[in-house]
């Protein structure tokens, strides 16, 4: 039985090298970076704690970084055995030309700030409002936020590169930690959702965007398939049930449970948070579990001290 305290203790076994994806690797793989798990039943608080821990020299792990960590970890590591919220999001916005697109931002987008999540949660929760949450619990974003996001700019002035999906699919060896990928909304809407074969997922546009590229997706799918010799996993998007005229942003999540039980589906009642739901999405409502990585020295921390007489 794994309690939150156990997860917390186990966090030290999530080696920092695991989280370093391509370009981030060179900058972050030194041994003085320490990864920690931040869970709270109030998600905005979990993110706030993770952001504070990460500080200027660290980061909160994006979905590509979480998947990268899994690829490089043993199956008995906590990274495989519970679920996580990623510092990644999917926004549905309209281009200046009037086309709907899905913009995936990794490494901190609009909902990368706890205060922005709070703003959405504390807005008037009427469907007629331009703030707050959509009926599917996505955070409504303003036209201005949507427009700026497409230009690779966050409300706090942070800028990041935004790639067209076709270019992104070709591969980019120098991906930064924070970036965006633009995918045509109709393509996203038609992407697979549910329990999907690994072979299909390798070419699935949403899988490729969420995983951080074709190679990253393939590496993760190979590792996930070998865990319990399975042939499919779950990936879920809600693009076929939303109003794309409403600019909105959702968080991306990574499912997991002890042993990866039921990752191809199971019979009977839902297991809720205990499902291995694969790659999912969530509104900024409810509990969250982030991984934050920051400079630290494990040898001088409390982790290895003996407090028992």
């Amino acid at each position: 039985m794994m309690t939150r305290r156990h997860l917390f203790q186990a966090a030290t076994t999530v080696g920092i090298g695991m989280f370093a994806s391509p370009a981030g690797l060179a900058k972050t793989s030194d041994s003085s970076m320490v990864a920690r798990i931040f869970f709270d039943s109030y998600g905005a608080l979990a993110l706030r704690q993770a952001v504070i821990y990460a500080g200027d020299g660290g980061f909160v792990a994006s979905l590509p970084q979480l998947l990268h960590a899994r690829v490089n970890a043993d199956y008995d590591n906590v990274i495989w055995n519970t679920w996580f919220t990623a510092e990644s999001e999917e926004s549905v916005v309209m281009t200046p030309q009037g086309n709907h697109v899905v913009l995936t931002v990794h490494g901190g987008g609009i909902l990368g700030k706890p205060s922005r999540i709070e703003r959405a949660l504390r807005a008037d929760l009427s469907r007629h409002n331009t703030h707050g949450l959509t009926g599917q619990y996505a955070a409504k974003i303003t036209e201005s936020e949507a427009r700026e996001l497409l230009r690779g700019r966050l409300p706090d002035g942070t800028e990041f590169p935004v790639y067209e999906f076709d270019a992104f699919r070709q591969g980019n060896p120098d991906l930064p930690r924070r970036y965006g990928v633009v995918l045509d909304f109709e393509t996203a809407k038609k992407s697979e959702t549910g329990y999907v074969s690994f072979d299909t997922l390798r070419d699935d546009p949403i899988m490729i965007c969420r995983a951080g590229g074709v190679d990253a997706a393939a590496a993760y799918l190979d590792k996930a398939g070998k865990r319990n010799d399975t042939s499919k996993m779950r990936i879920v998007h809600g693009h076929d049930e939303i109003d794309p005229d409403e600019p909105q942003t959702l968080l991306l999540t990574l499912g997991g449970n002890k042993g990866g039980v039921g990752s191809e589906g199971h019979e009977g009642l839902s297991w809720g948070y205990g499902e291995d739901w694969g790659l999912g999405w969530s509104g900024p409502v409810g509990m969250d579990r982030y991984v934050a990585v920051a400079p630290g020295n494990a040898s001088t921390s409390l982790q290895n001290l003996d407090f028992e007489f």
Partner: protein, 277 residues
């Protein structure tokens, strides 16, 4: 007595603040109290125009004889304490665990908690009267704010759910228990119907989609939106749907309680005119 609305994006925090406001002499409104307030309020009052979290819950437990029952607690039950809510949220979420949240979003409770609630004993030591449904249906004089009603699980499971005609609702066991009695149910239904001269109201329950062998409890939510739009199910989509009375709510997320407490506004209330030069 002055009521106040306490909203938080986190149920335990909302409940904590509501309890602090209520203090020893006040209360956090149960579902019967919320419905009573609506029954006596004009439709443009806020009580009709948004959703609320009630201080009422429905526990599914097994009796010592092995029968499944639903124990509704009004006025504060097992989840009437923020600490107990947090305990569920911070437990291991493995579906095999005996603590935490069920796959359907209810809070798992221990066998002991389940047995105690059948006897009207709550985790904080409070003892409350618990009435069998048949007795409750006939009417109880001088109902206290805090009490329980036991309904056979099969009866609750077979109860109509969804958007239901008012005349049927008046006889529905779950609705009668939720409303606080036959008369209270009828009064609320009449007032609800007259708002837009509608024929249906939502009343949902989870009892046909849970494992009754797993002791569990869930707080009940009262739906509402500005104007009572779509209250017959014609806009059943998202958190601001007017779905009537819920039953599926996950014990994680947003909450809006009403707390009521003695306050002397003449000495403690702030008046806007005092701030104008």
């Amino acid at each position: 007595m002055q009521p106040t609305i306490v909203f938080e994006p986190h149920i335990p925090t909302a409940l904590q603040r509501a309890l602090e406001y209520a203090g020893d002499k006040g209360f956090v409104a149960s579902l019967p109290q919320l419905l009573h307030a609506r029954t006596n309020a004009p439709y443009d009052n806020i009580i009709w125009n948004t959703w609320f979290t009630s201080n009422s819950e429905e526990c599914v437990v097994t009796t010592p004889q092995g029968n499944h029952v639903v124990v509704a607690i009004h006025g504060g039950g097992i989840l009437g304490s923020p600490e107990r809510l947090e305990r569920s949220a911070h437990a291991d979420m493995d579906h095999r665990n005996t603590e935490g949240i069920t796959g359907q979003g209810a809070a798992k409770i221990t066998r002991q908690e389940a047995l105690d609630v059948l006897d009207g004993k709550l985790p904080d030591g409070t003892e409350i009267p618990v009435y069998p449904f048949d007795e409750f249906r006939r009417g109880i004089n001088d109902l206290p704010i805090r009490y329980g009603v036991i309904t056979d699980f099969e009866l609750a499971r077979k109860t109509e759910k969804g958007f239901t005609p008012f005349e049927i609702l008046k006889e529905e066991p779950n609705f009668i228990v939720r409303a606080g009695g036959v008369e209270a149910a009828a009064d609320y239904v009449d007032k609800f119907q007259a708002r837009h001269d509608t024929k249906l109201m939502g009343n949902f329950h989870p009892f046909d989609r849970i494992d009754p062998d797993q002791p569990q409890t869930r707080v009940i939510f009262l739906a509402g939106n500005k104007g009572g739009v779509g209250s017959e199910g014609d806009y059943f989509f998202g958190y601001d749907s007017d779905y009537g009375i819920g039953g599926y709510a996950h014990m994680i997320g947003l909450a809006r309680y009403v707390a009521v407490a003695p306050r002397d506004i003449s000495v403690s209330g702030l008046r806007s005119e005092d701030f104008e030069p």
